[in-house]
Amino acid sequence: MAWIRRKWTPEAAEEWTREDLIACILSPLAYFLLSLGLLHALLLQTWGYFLLILGVLISYAMYVVIDPKLRTISEEFEKKQAKHLEELERIQRWEE
């Protein structure tokens, strides 16, 4: 999957990219397939199992696509969090 970026710099991870779009397409699809799949699997209908397995695979694909980016964003943001919290409290307390 060369078109999916696996290594991110903090600057690049801050941008909204193709990986976000793919996660946003796969995620509702996974919800849809898992919900329908369980419904029909519980009624012992074969295509329910098929949808359920497809839903699991799509969820995994979503994780593979988005996780490296989420990790980079999180690590970078944690470094800045204390400073942002100070700013938040300043606004909260009206200290202009």
């Binding site: 919800y31 419904l39 988005i66 942002h84």
Partner: protein, 530 residues
Amino acid sequence: MVELTLLDWFWLLAFLGLMVASGVLFYRLGKRSQADFFLAGRGLPWWLPASSVYATHTATDTPMWITGIVYQHGLRGIWYAFFSAWCAISAFVSTRIFRRSLAYTQAEWQSLRFSGLGSELLRGWMAGWSVFMNMFVLGWVGIAMGKICNVFFNWPEWVGLIVFSSVCAIYVLAAGYWGVVMADFQQGVIALAVIVITSLWGIAAAGGPSGIVSRLDAMGESWRLNPFAFTGLFTGDFPVAWFITMMVIAIVGGVGMGTSIDWYPEAQRIQSAKTVRDASYAIWAGTILVLLRNSLWAVAILGFYVLYPNIKSAAEYEMGWYRLGFEYLPIGMVGCFFAAILAIHLSTISTHLNLGAVYATRDLYHHYVNPQASEAKLVWVGRFSTFLLLVGSFIYGLMMEDITSWLIFALWIMMAGVWLPNILQVVWWRFNAWGYLASWIANLGMSWLVVWILPHYGLIPEMPDYLQFWALMALGTLIFLPVTYLTPPDDMDHLVKYYIMARPLGWWGPVRQAAIERGLMQPTAQPGSD
């Protein structure tokens, strides 16, 4: 009426003891600061807020509501409950943006996003509305518990309303959100296990999966097995147009903040997660559990339908899933089942007690009354607000019969006309607080006109609910768009600070350019940013 045996009472008291103990256990953590009392110190791994999302959105009225729609509509009724899917996109868009803002509440986020007088008015309004809404939900869910205890144990309704909410308040008052989230984890596990056991037991009682299918065939009602049994493109009580509207509201709504009433408790869970990544996975995982639970319930309710196909009264068939538990589980398990009902009840009550208190403390008291309050004082204000919400919910609960229809209407209008502004405030830099406030005010008037007054006088035909949604959205846009353009944009320095902190998605080109000019970020290509 259900008789509880000694073993049943043991399960029940053991469960309540466990919940209260969690409050005592986390008392010291909860009182350290308001960040601990309301957000568990922003340090939770993803699975704790995820279990809290699941537990909170499994309330005592949830199985009644899902039973009602599946009994009435068959498996296609599952789409009524699919609105939770807003988290599919939210987990990777609005959750990320909100977690990065570090705001305690949605009202606080809006004061980071907007500036000036409009922003202050909006924060006050949203905080007041949220305190009221949490009190209302507490009363609503509390009286549902009262009714369940009345139907199955013949206890007066006030017993179910007051006793269990008061037990819950012990650990919320003691440990704040630490107590809520730790109890939610235990409650989530207990509730999930018992929901699985009871539903599978119910399916078996109805003859198993093949028994349900063959009995529905014999009754000539096999359409109930089809989740896509539409009644036409625009006609009947289940048209394709309704389904598409529901999907758009749910899925596209995930880009915004507040497009679903569930956003507000979720926002607290997002902010309590240790990192942005934990917040995203918490929202995604908690919601898939909710959706899978709906599927399980739906099949169990089909089982209930084939066992009792001729119930006409909604009040009676809405109790279907509870009846499967109380009437079909073996002796000794009934107490366990009731403990699970208490688990789903307490998880919702505890969430709304703490959530209402954070708006009262952080957005009203701390922001407007005493900005210099110490952390210790804020924790005590949080406790006092929790207590007031509890007492208020008892009053609401006891008068709920008279006001429910009005408040459901209020919920609907809040959703329909403000749906688009809730997205625009996230994705469009030029949208301002005046536009947002205008959409609220316009919606209050328009919804009365579109839903009740104009159809009553025959000036417009009565519209199905999905058409009301589109009409209210279009009419609201005619108001808030001109208001937005006729009022000045937010202060650019304020917007730049917000942009650097939250990195929102959408049309933020001028703000991004201003941030680059101030040397706060490097110019890089960002497709679709302006």
